[in-house]
């Protein structure tokens, strides 16, 4: 790896902590972000010749804070000060002091930063875009590409999100346990959304956008390092790892969707599965089940099955039943119906999903599953109607193509 790349990685790695600390100091996202940018510019000047500091985050916080204070002072006096009055050389003692001061707040700083970006008042797409911009440090152009919108549209979306959170009331005092739990849960949900955006991309040509998935996993691990004893965060991370482990097998060489049963399981990334299983084991010991843990446990059963026919559908059915109690939703019931169809046949599964029709009238997977179940029952005409509905609702060209192949098979019969 060359020097620029390794400095880049150091800046990305230090970013959440540094921006989080700067946000606490300045209580304003815009100022914190500018201060961090300024510190990065100075790092790019200073690190190549002096070598990167032992603690990049502490260096960036210290330099960023001084740079921003200077700017504020300058703006107030409206007279220019010499540009180089900020000590870029940071003595070890100073760095240690700065680090000590900030370490105490480390956890809540990052959580606050994430929480502000994932503020419940923001629509999900804005949450994800803002988190990618502020926490992950992706450029507007990169985010625009990931969402397949124009750069100016993304710029606008992020500006709007910033304005909205600037008006939202987020206390800067260290949160109490209840508030911390609420923030943690909001952030976990946003990370899950970010992952899903990458995993089954909506409204774009690409069906999978792996970088979004990888960024979500990085944030989940970061959150787990901050809160190592939270079983739901273990569950979330495990869930993402299991899902992502299948990425190499989810599309064939032509970009067509390969469903779980047909995937070449030797392509699944074993390291990610091992890590997910380890996290799930840890989570179980806490005996505090939650929706992410249950979903991870379901994903783990698929990961553990060497062949599709080894899948423990009975256990999966039981876990979905648990999930229906923890987090009732028609989508959960729809997923459960897949397990039910394996255990008790397509007819029972079909009866189970029929009542969901009004709620899932706009949901691609509902019609996809309905068509497949009807097909199993030999009700070809009804299956065709369902598949046509599904195609109309497909989120990506790959989804539509996948249903079309099933339709083709129907016609050939």
């Amino acid at each position: 790896m060359n020097e620029v790349a390794s400095i880049d990685a150091a800046l990305v790695g230090a970013r959440p902590q540094a921006v989080g600390a700067l946000l606490r100091h300045f209580r304003d996202l815009e100022t914190a972000e500018e201060a961090f940018q300024e510190a990065c510019l100075r790092a790019l000047q200073s690190w190549p010749s002096n070598g990167p500091p032992r603690d990049p985050a502490a260096w960036l916080i210290f330099v960023g804070k001084n740079a921003a204070l200077d700017r504020l002072r300058r703006d107030r006096k409206q007279q220019p000060l010499p540009d180089d009055d900020v000590p870029v050389e940071l003595s070890d003692a100073e760095a240690e002091l700065a680090a000590d001061l900030d370490d105490a707040h480390y956890r809540d700083d990052i959580l606050r930063l994430l929480f502000i970006c994932c503020h419940p008042e923001l629509p999900a797409t804005q949450q994800i875009a803002l988190a990618l911009r502020i926490v992950s440090g992706l450029s507007v152009a990169e985010i625009a590409r990931a969402f397949l919108v124009s750069e100016s549209a993304m710029e606008q979306r992020i500006t709007r999100a910033k304005q909205r959170v600037a008006g939202a009331d987020v206390p800067f005092e260290p949160p109490d346990a209840v508030e911390r739990a609420a923030r943690l849960s909001a952030v976990a949900t946003a990370i899950y959304l970010l992952f899903n955006e990458g995993y089954s991309a909506t409204g774009g040509a690409a069906h999978v956008r792996a970088p979004l998935c990888e960024e979500a996993i990085r944030l989940a691990r970061l959150l787990l390092r901050l809160f190592p004893g939270e079983p739901e965060i273990m569950g979330l991370t495990a869930l993402l790892l299991f899902q992502h482990s299948r990425t190499p097998a989810r599309l064939d060489a032509d970009g067509a969707i390969v469903v779980l049963d047909d995937q070449d399981r030797s392509l699944w990334t074993r390291d990610l599965i091992a890590e997910g299983l380890a996290l799930l084991d840890k989570a179980m010991r806490h005996r505090r089940p939650g929706p992410f843990q249950v979903q991870a446990a379901i994903a783990a059963l698929h990961s553990r099955a060497a062949r599709p026919e080894d899948t423990d559908w009975k256990e999966i059915d039981a876990l979905y039943a648990a999930l229906e109690r923890l987090q009732p939703s028609p989508v959960v019931t729809l997923n459960r119906a897949v397990a039910v169809s394996k255990l008790r046949g397509a007819e029972t599964a079909l009866a189970m999903i029929e009542p969901l029709a009004p709620q899932l009238a706009g949901y691609f997977y509902f019609f996809g599953l309905k068509g497949a179940l009807l097909l199993q029952l030999g009700r070809a005409d009804e299956a065709r109607v369902a598949f046509n509905h599904a195609i109309a609702l497909a989120n990506t060209p790959a989804e539509a193509a996948h249903i079309r192949t099933q339709l083709d098979r129907l016609t050939k019969r």
């Binding site: 790896m1 790349a5 390794s6 990685a9 150091a10 990305v12 790695g13 230090a14 902590q17 990167p52 032992r54 603690d55 990049p56 985050a57 990888e214 990085r218 691990r221 970061l222 787990l224 390092r225 190592p228 004893g229 273990m234 991370t237 390291d271 091992a274 890590e275 380890a278 996290l279 840890k282 010991r285």
Partner: protein, 123 residues
Amino acid sequence: MLYAILCYDSEDLVESWTKEQDAQVIAKLDVVKQKLEREGRLGPTVRLLPTTAATTVRKGKEPIVLDGPFAETKEQLLGFYIVECASLEQAIETAKDLGRASSSQGAYEIRPLRLFHAGGLAT
């Protein structure tokens, strides 16, 4: 003498490497490993899963099980090499070779070791 060369680095940083950067580092380290292998000096090499997968058992009358790594530090133990070295000098040289290949900050801790049991685990 057998030495453990313990690799410490900031997990935040290493996780910020792109897949390509990670692959580059591994490829460079492999060159060093192959050299050690040819010299018949290379024992097991290990990359640890992220510290988030770690569990700590505090010894005591009532052992306490804690989530996470044993120590909270800026740099974490991310993996290790077991290498046969004629002297500390050679161990230091080996660590330097690895350091040049990995190009990140971090540190290598060199610990002479005594093998209790060579083991026969298939991997």
